[in-house]
Subunit: 300 residues, 2 copies
Amino acid sequence: MTFAQTLAARAEQIDARLANLFVAGPAAASPARLRDAMRHALLGGGKRLRPLLVLETAKLFNVAAEDALATASAVECIHCYSLAHDDLPAMDNDEIRRGRPTVWKAFDEWTAVLAGDGLLTLAFEILADPATNPDPVVRSELVLLLASASGAAGMVGGQALDLAWEKLDHNAPPTPEDIRQLQSMKTGALISCACEMGAVLGRANEDARRAIRAYGSALGYAFQIADDLLDAEGDPAITGKAVAKDKALGKATLVDLWGPQRCRDVLAELQADCRNALAPFGASATTLLAAAEFVATRDR
Amino acid sequence: MTFAQTLAARAEQIDARLANLFVAGPAAASPARLRDAMRHALLGGGKRLRPLLVLETAKLFNVAAEDALATASAVECIHCYSLAHDDLPAMDNDEIRRGRPTVWKAFDEWTAVLAGDGLLTLAFEILADPATNPDPVVRSELVLLLASASGAAGMVGGQALDLAWEKLDHNAPPTPEDIRQLQSMKTGALISCACEMGAVLGRANEDARRAIRAYGSALGYAFQIADDLLDAEGDPAITGKAVAKDKALGKATLVDLWGPQRCRDVLAELQADCRNALAPFGASATTLLAAAEFVATRDR
């Protein structure tokens, strides 16, 4: 099975779990318009990379997919809420995502703000639910990791830095270190967190946790560089996005500062970092290794 | 000491703890503009009623204020994030709150959205932190309670219902039951949750938890009826708000449907409910009783 096939099979399993959030539980009990907007945001056909990372790292520690799915769905709630808010007119002003209208375009702005708030809160409600994991130590640690990765010193902070460069700081072009920090907060933190949450579910020891963190961190960085390369060079017929959209928005990327060749060299180094980090896990890490390859070489 | 004096003294203690969030921890580590906006949203001089309820219910079960302050600050993060989002142009479009510009007016819309997201996430990061409570069972339960009260089936859902009536459903006037449900989700759930979180910190038994829930639920309802009465009849020189603002926005209130006298009768019944619920706690519940009196008779 190729990694793309694995990802597609996992996505089906994850989509079923996400859809189920609207059949029972707090999302099901919410007002109809809000529920529909949350569903629109969450069930929009994403790759489901972050939940896959939860499932696959958990599997390294012998946790069955069934016992990691709730945690995986919480991470996707965070990812999708951030897209619903980032797409708002006051933020990135995007009308189309994955070929469908964005949440504010399909509903309206206030509904999109509240749908994002609802999904954000739902992520923590899922993690703190005893049905997600019977051990309260695990549940608390999952909440702490996810809040830390996605909050003001993580994903939300990265988005704030990004918008500040784009909308306010035109006269002070960012350095490669600025971009690296921004990207590591905006994208890397949640990807790395997804990996570490799998290790928490598996009660990994400190050495294994450290290895998974190293993998997650290299993977998150690689994801972002590949994204920048796709924005600069990708085929819009395949990516489904306008090429050079970042440039048009005045966003500085590492491709601008380093050129594509150096970016590809760094990508190769990061893949080596991923391989080294996963070496202790031997053959059981095959899918995570393939994920690193996929992230670095994806064409969409 | 009158209740107003108790509230002011507690507010000072709570404000100090909230200010400290920007000295150390995730909010301190966030980008400057985001941090400033979160501080603006959180340190805007609120009454701090919800955190006081956490401290006072915890005290019923012999939990020192110092050991309940972190939990109290998390509840206030949720309250203040909801105000920052509710004030947005696409929502209630408010420019002034408590005599200061709202977050979007003082900064801009994207900063206000992200500051709200940051505060929302921070609340759960605080609750899951072992420094908040050494017992992971308590931490998980606090997260679950707060997420449930503030999410799509609670506060966020109530705001969605409110805006739907105001902006979309002009032809279908709400019934008293509709208004009751909306208000119980939008305002009551978080007030009641604040009380119950104090009981969780104090490891209250099920009977005591039930009594505290009954108190919190009556208190939350009374708070909202008093708010509607103030909107209809309050002195703008004292409330600091325009009179009949709800009416101008097309919001239906119980005062419209029931008239002020029936509202005052229900308020009196709710105060009796609060007294009954607190009876088992005797003299130690004096401050919580005074809070019920304060909520029902406040003039601002």
